[in-house]
């Protein structure tokens, strides 16, 4: 029997039907009958605003991304319930088959404008999940592999469905200050919208759409991207010396004020500041080498920041992995000009291992450009491994890769 659980009891009993949605709602203070308190909307006008936003999100994702009509029950419409007592919207599989949405009846934003901006962002986000359900249904255990890309795509869709909607920026503080958190971490799923943004800027929006729609059930997002990228380019490659998209993303993510960066967003820089560095050094000619020891999890990066005095003409860099054998670590050095532009970038190259007992070493030398006012130099260390640590401590993983970074300044 339907409706004997607590949630079902809370369901308001009014219904507003649109072309693609069946919206269950109630009014806080109806003309007659019991007031619904937190479960009720202010007026019918608000219901219509929700309905319009839902249809807009449907239309944009259906038409622009070429997505099929989502899986629906016999009504052919997507079920939406507007309820109080929930802080976040949620998409779930009704009857373990049909994607449905629960939206909050109100939020705690300070102004009408910011409240409505948030509601629209949440609507785009959940409608994106509903469409995404077709290829990777949340009822399938394999869909857990897609959680970060699902959330990244849903957050990205917020600003695409409703142009100039900046609500997604509430997720950026953590992205700015935690570059060392793995891209596919469950604690950073909303922050994955930044890699989706980067991929869309570099390969076009259809690429990110196809990563979702043309992937197989058992693939991971990274496997799908590696397969779909053209000309031998890989999303991520452990091969040192081979370019990969993830390393480029980590570099561009640092240069938010450079118009050539695919993540160019000076207003994000103004609002949240520079991406967090792991360690900072001041270098002058003849000063002792700057040495940093650190570690890095899979699909993550760290920034090391060097202020150089005018007398410094070049830097010699060396990164050594702590473990013997090959390492998924890569490194690149770049020069940040005073105006925020990336004035020069160079990858560190590996010294071939002569035996299995050797530790991986990357080296590089960079001559600082003379015609540029240098703000600082940054070394971007990326972990291009894919294997996260599991609970089984004996299983090898690409996490916690320890390394030592040494930089020497020459006059």
């Amino acid at each position: 029997m339907r409706g004997n659980n607590k949630f079902a009891e809370a369901l308001p009993n009014l219904c507003w039907e649109t072309k693609n949605f069946l919206i269950r709602y109630g009014l806080r203070n109806p003309q007659s009958g019991k007031g619904l308190g937190m479960h009720g909307l202010l007026s019918l006008k608000v219901v219509k605003m929700y309905a319009n936003a839902l249809e807009t999100a449907y239309r944009k994702i259906h038409r622009h991304w070429g997505r099929e009509h989502p899986i629906c029950d016999g009504t052919g419409k997507i079920a939406v319930s507007i309820l109080g007592g929930i802080s976040d919207p949620v998409m779930f599989a009704q009857d373990w088959e049909f994607p449905s949405i629960v939206l909050p009846s109100f939020n705690n934003e300070a102004t009408i404008k910011s409240s409505w901006q948030r509601i629209k962002a949440e609507i785009a986000h959940e409608v994106c999940h509903v469409f995404n359900f077709t290829e990777h249904p949340l009822t399938d255990f394999f869909s857990a592999r897609w959680a970060w890309f699902d959330e990244g795509l849903a957050v990205y869709s917020e600003g695409q469905v409703f142009k100039n909607n900046l609500d997604y920026r509430r997720f950026l503080p953590n992205w700015v200050v935690f570059p060392e958190i793995s891209l596919d971490s469950s604690v950073a799923e909303y922050q994955a919208s930044q890699i989706v943004r980067y991929l869309a800027a570099r390969f076009g929006e259809q690429f990110v759409n196809e990563v979702w729609t043309k992937s197989t059930r058992e693939e991971t997002p990274v496997e799908a991207m590696n397969r779909l990228l053209q000309d031998g380019l890989k999303f991520v490659s452990k091969e040192n010396g081979q370019a990969d998209v993830f390393s480029d993303y980590c570099r561009d993510a640092y240069f938010l004020r450079d118009p050539k960066s695919l993540l160019y967003a000076p207003e994000v820089f103004d609002r949240f500041g520079e991406r967090a560095s792991t360690e900072n050094f001041e270098l002058q000619p003849g000063s002792p080498s700057a040495e940093a020891e650190s570690n890095l999890d899979h699909l993550a990066c760290r920034y090391f920041r060097y202020s150089v005095t005018p007398g410094v003409k070049s830097l010699t860099l060396r990164l050594e992995a702590s473990k013997e054998g090959n390492s998924p670590l890569k490194a690149e050095v770049a020069v940040m000009a005073r105006d925020g532009k990336n004035a020069l970038a160079k990858r560190l190259v590996p010294i071939p291992l002569s035996s299995a007992n050797d530790k991986m070493r990357l080296t590089g030398k960079i001559d600082l450009p003379r015609n540029v006012e240098i703000d600082h130099v940054v070394v971007i260390v990326t972990n291009c491994g894919l294997k996260r640590a599991t609970d089984n401590v004996y299983e090898s993983s690409d996490d916690e890769q320890e390394f030592r970074l040494q930089v020497v300044a020459e006059g």
Binding site: N5, E9, G85, P89, Q94, W96, L138, F141
Partner: protein, 225 residues
């Protein structure tokens, strides 16, 4: 994936248990793989495993009367490995297995250290029972699947969800961006569907107070509204 410690001096039994755990707790997802199963044949070895564990075990399966402390004298119960395991944080499930269930010392140990312990999952099984491995498996599944589901229900719906007003079912006070409710709820539901048959009745009742569960379907189907 769960981490098991088997402490058993009989190599044949140890192998049977190892195979049983590997068969039943290996994830179908390749990125999760096999459970961690460590085997010790003496109390000393067991204590070393517990001391050196980088992460505490989820389950310790402990035989009684282990060498070398009592080699040639199998009448004593050495409870030190058991006590050491119990001190781990969080404490593991202790699954005692014995060929001497009626031994007074074994009974005394069970009564003293397990019957009245807060961990309601601890138990002892007789290896003389022909179906003891099935019973063991059932109890391990209950522990390994029920506990995470209960914890997630507490987190998402509050411990008192069944007695509260429906309007407070989802934990209030969170703000957009702190967690992905869609993914968390999906994972919870996947676990409930996958392990429904292994859950005990009170937990099933609690779940049915929140979700609509279609038990006629195999596997069960679950709905929120």
């Amino acid at each position: 994936m769960p981490r098991f410690l088997i402490v058993e001096d009989d190599t044949q039994t140890s192998k049977v248990l190892r195979d049983l755990l590997k068969l039943n707790f290996t994830s179908p997802l390749p990125d999760e793989g096999e459970p961690q199963i460590d085997t010790a044949s003496t109390v000393t070895e067991a204590k070393e495993f517990i001391n050196n564990a980088r992460k505490p075990y989820h389950v310790a399966i402990l035989d009684f009367r282990l060498p070398p402390e009592h080699l040639g004298d199998s009448t004593k119960v050495d409870a030190t490995a058991c006590l050491q395991a119990m001190r781990s944080t969080p404490p593991p499930l202790i699954a005692h297995i014995t060929s001497n269930p009626n031994d007074e010392k074994v009974k005394a140990h069970i009564k003293e250290y397990h019957t009245e312990r807060a961990n309601r999952y601890d138990f002892a099984l007789s290896k003389l029972d022909s179906d003891y491995t099935e019973k063991l498996l059932g109890k391990l599944k209950k522990f390994l699947y029920e506990r995470p589901i209960e914890e997630q229900l507490d987190l998402m719906f509050g411990r008192e969800a069944q007695t509260r007003a429906p309007s407070l079912l989802l934990t209030p006070g969170r703000s957009r961006g702190q967690s992905c409710m869609t993914q968390e709820l999906a994972e919870l539901c996947r676990q409930i569907v996958a392990h429904w048959d292994d859950l005990d009745e009170p937990l099933k009742n609690r779940i049915e107070g929140i979700f609509e569960v279609n038990k006629a379907s195999k596997p069960v189907k679950i709905s929120l509204l």
